[in-house]
Subunit: 121 residues, 2 copies
DNA sequence: CAAAACCATGGAGTTGAGTCAACGGTTTTG
DNA sequence: CAAAACCGTTGACTCAACTCCATGGTTTTG
């Protein structure tokens, strides 16, 4: 599909999609027509974009993500310690989720306080 | 305590602390000595800073946080719908945590794949 | 087939969250 | 008491992640 459709279906702007592609997060093919230079994105780009959103919610930067995608499925044990890298990310994400859940809890408490009788004198 | 101590004990830079104070996230008193203009932070600032870190991990912006802190404990039902505001934040944070957990799961899977026998041919 | 809709590229601009540097005061310490 | 360590203010700067704009080519559509 072309960028306009991907934009509509993903909810991301064309600029964002091109930006992600420059950063190596998504990929396209040159497209069938030789007359133009339109990109052609595979259907699975939508899945990738959803995973990117997940990763961002978990606090990953785009640079981290590019590294993860590039290194991990490239199966290259040439000096790059994938296990250590993954373990570090896992620990980070777990810590972040724990913090977010603490915050969620305090939001719930604030909500309950608002719902309760406002003054007791 | 003065800013240097708060910085050491919180792990945040002095500049960050002053930045947070300008944004209204933490507060200080003018300090006892009239000869200087040093700020004096209460012990509880450390707790507040920890809560700020929680909130940031949950994806809250500093502006949102300032609004939350300012509006919520000010008990001002003058047009500001605290319940709706809180409900919206709660939904956001829950969605974010759900996404982060999906990502964590995929990290775990990637980790397991690395640990498993690399090739089976 | 012309107007509207779409696409690419390059580069500048924006926003949020800090960070740094310079300058001049104040405390602490050896 | 002087040097070192600390503090405040102002304003410029950085970095990540987008976002906008101008220009010019390509499809689609009424």
């Amino acid at each position: 599909m072309r960028i306009g459709e991907l934009s509509r279906r993903s909810g991301l702007s064309r600029d964002t999609l091109r930006f992600y592609e420059r950063q190596g997060l998504i990929h396209s093919e040159p497209g069938a027509e030789a007359t133009n230079s339109y990109r052609d994105y595979p259907e699975e780009a939508l899945i990738t974009l959803d995973q990117i959103a997940d990763a961002q919610a978990a606090g990953m930067s785009i640079a981290d993500l590019a590294m993860l995608m590039g290194q991990l499925q490239a199966a290259d044990p040439d000096g790059f310690d994938g296990e250590a890298f993954l373990d570090a990310r896992i620990a980070e994400v777990e810590a972040r989720i724990a913090r977010a859940e603490r915050f969620l809890e305090s939001l719930h408490q604030a909500r309950a306080a608002l719902a309760a009788p406002p003054v007791l004198l």
